[in-house]
Symmetry: C2
Subunit: 440 residues, 2 copies
């Protein structure tokens, strides 16, 4: 029976001399005084193997080792395995393009992404995706506990709900279809169907040409939709509970992964203190914050103000909230109608029941209440240059009774990025896609 | 505070006369002796509302009702709500294309799929997707408990691992990419990366033209990959545990949904009794089973035998296993090398460490151990007409040490179909895609 690296120290305490079998990757080799010290890496961590004589192992080869556990205070973790039998299961070629056991901060992002099979072996890089797995698990877990049903909807759509811009085209037998930008239409269908509360974790596609540290052309969208709400305030409340649950799960399950990135997560209490600021007021606040900043540093002509929630405004608002509320999480609501899709529920003649969530300087969520009245949808379409004929499938959802509802989506990679403090969202995607990158 | 339909009977027992608020859809209306009986449907079930006088409600409208709970043995569930205030939140147009509250077995599959926003309101139709949600939840839950990490990988691939047939082409900026047929390549990358045990639940695409009750062009693939296995036997063992866990979860959480389809799930003990039969022997067994059947009925010239595990063979093998082992679940292993992809690990010169799982007459899983030796992969490629240059990204996974490993995928819709006894796999897809269907 194979044991894991993390269990060796405990075994050495209890049963020194016990024979064990280990398997994993050759992480590091050091030869000293006729003895070889090999650090073995498996999914649980690192452990030192001691072999008599020199070794012809190559770094990153996969080996199986049998030996006796022993206490050694000088070894990592305070224990080691004195190897009696070692078998190479898969030999690594010696021409590694970069040292897996080194400091990946010195390796450029393109090299890391071009060599995913290798760069993911670095424990710190791999930890990003353990964190991401917990985010997805905790997201799903909380929603299930609140009566939400997980759904899986098609990513191939006959036409775009919000028009054809930003869509990737797919050759589908003898016609064209598109990759879905979001499960918006399908989430709303499930609301109208009577499931009332649904969520989906699935890929979403944006055919946008910009290549920035905050954009991916394919990303994992964590979507929520909920019936019988009054306004976006119900959704903000739900997202606070969700984020608090996710942060708690990370603190509990991923303490080592967080530590590897010098990262901490906000505690639950502070999540519930995050402010909600109306869009127009948020722009004013950002201007004041920019002025305040330019007194200390020299960030330029901030006093002129802002016209929209730009990346700079996102950073300024989070800085402000961090100072005033002790958490760099802000909800901005009441976006102007012209900034939001046609299906957003109006709060007034000019504004909507919509919101964004900004976390650590980055928008991680967009959401809002949706218009559920069939007649109101028909009336608003022309104002957005849309025609009922082109939206027949969408409108059918509302024709036969749909409750008041709304929802939002959290960008999984963006949340992962901000939890760990990664400088580029692509670091938080296993196999990111951008304008130039389609492999590995 | 809104209460749910399922809680009314309990409330009536404990606090008859209590005022409650309900919200949901108008499922059925009956007028009798100056009183209207309205069956309200919400996500939890049905409840009877009693209103004075006639009502101008339309079926499927969404309403909010306030009234007093009361015991009434004649009402469904033994209780009702005597309404004092009723508000229509969203009025349904009266021209329903079919009765939502009727027997959907009388409505054709195309009508059901064309009208998903409406057909999903039928409690029996909706129950399919509550069952599916439990399948996904239980699958993930069991794997997490065994140290598997959830991954999310790209569905846009630069080229096909197994050649370009059966791939949908995507216009990706100024080049062509393809929709992934499976996360095979990425799962193996994560094995080599040292996560060792991974799973993914995500869409997969097959550009196959056949339109049958067992095929979808887009389906939800529940994928597993696991390092340090010896042979496909380890994978079959894992799948038995997974299926047993899924069936237990369904029996516990979805008893009503199963009952709606007169469906039962196998108990755990019987799952572990399911036989494993080598491919060549399975063909012989199917022939014998066909002969046996043709003695009773008249299924034709079965005595001629079979050359591959066809749909008919799948049915025959499951019938045999049901009779001999008490469960219609069979694992077929040791497929010939020519029937399996190049990366399948050989068991001999002619056969492979591969398997299929057949459940209730249908293949629900394909899997196997993979070749992890870089040199062996290079040597086998020409025999499959493949070139190393075209598979550079794939081969890179093995160049620097990869443990022995393997995996499998369960078709989520197929498992859902067979659990409930649905006649067409499309019934188990919320928004199925086939050659002609790309909406809703």
């Amino acid at each position: 029976m194979r044991v894991l690296a993390k269990d060796i120290a405990g075994l050495a305490q209890k049963e020194a001399g016990k024979m064990v079998e280990l398997a994993g990757w050759v992480h590091r080799i050091r030869e000293l005084g006729g003895v070889s010290f090999v650090i073995l890496r498996d999914r649980s961590g690192l452990v030192q193997l001691v072999l008599e004589g020199k070794t012809d192992l190559t770094l990153e080869s996969v080996v199986r080792a049998e030996g006796q556990v022993a206490i050694n205070e000088k070894a990592p973790g305070g224990a080691e395995v004195r190897v009696q039998r070692l078998e190479v299961l898969s030999r690594s070629e010696p021409d590694l393009p970069f040292p897996v056991n080194g400091d990946m901060a010195k390796v450029g992002l393109d090299v890391i992404l071009d060599n995913r099979p290798l760069s993911l072996r670095n424990p710190r890089i791999r930890s990003i995706f353990r964190v991401q797995a917990t985010i997805i698990e905790a997201f799903s877990e909380y929603l299930r506990s609140e009566g939400f049903t997980e759904i899986k909807t098609s990513k191939l759509i006959g036409s775009g709900t919000e028009g054809g811009t930003g869509l990737f085209e797919v050759d589908y037998f003898d016609r064209k279809v598109y990759l879905a930008q979001s499960p918006q239409f399908y989430k709303q269908t499930m609301i109208a169907s009577g499931l009332e509360r649904v969520f989906e974790v699935a890929p979403a596609y944006r055919a946008e040409k910009h290549d920035t540290p905050r954009h991916l052309n394919e990303y994992v969208s964590m979507d929520v939709e909920m019936a019988f709400i009054e306004s976006e305030a119900d959704l903000i409340e739900l997202e606070k509970h969700l984020l608090a649950h996710i942060f708690e799960a990370l603190a509990k399950k991923n303490a080592e992964d967080l530590a590897a990135w010098n990262a901490t997560v906000p505690d639950s209490d502070s999540v519930f203190k995050a402010p909600t600021i109306a869009h127009d007021e948020a722009l004013e606040l950002a201007r004041a914050e920019a002025v305040r900043g330019s007194q200390n540093t020299s960030t330029g002509s901030a006093a002129q103000g802002f016209f929209e929630i730009s990346p700079e405004v996102e950073r300024l608002l989070c800085a402000w909230a961090g100072r005033e509320y002790g958490i760099d999480l802000v909800f901005v609501n009441q976006f102007p109608r012209r900034h939001r899709p046609f299906y957003t529920y109006p709060a007034s003649a000019t504004h909507t029941m919509s919101f964004d969530a900004l976390f650590r300087g980055l928008e991680i969520t967009t959401g809002g209440r949706r218009q559920e009245q069939y007649q109101a949808l028909l009336e608003v379409l022309p104002r957005f240059g849309l025609k009922a004929e082109d939206l027949k499938d969408y409108l059918a959802v509302f024709k036969y009774g749909c409750p008041p509802h709304g929802g939002f989506a959290i960008g999984c990679e963006r949340l992962t990025q901000k939890v760990l403090g990664l400088s580029n969202v692509k670091e938080a995607s296993l196999f990111p896609r951008d304008r130039r990158r389609v492999s590995p």
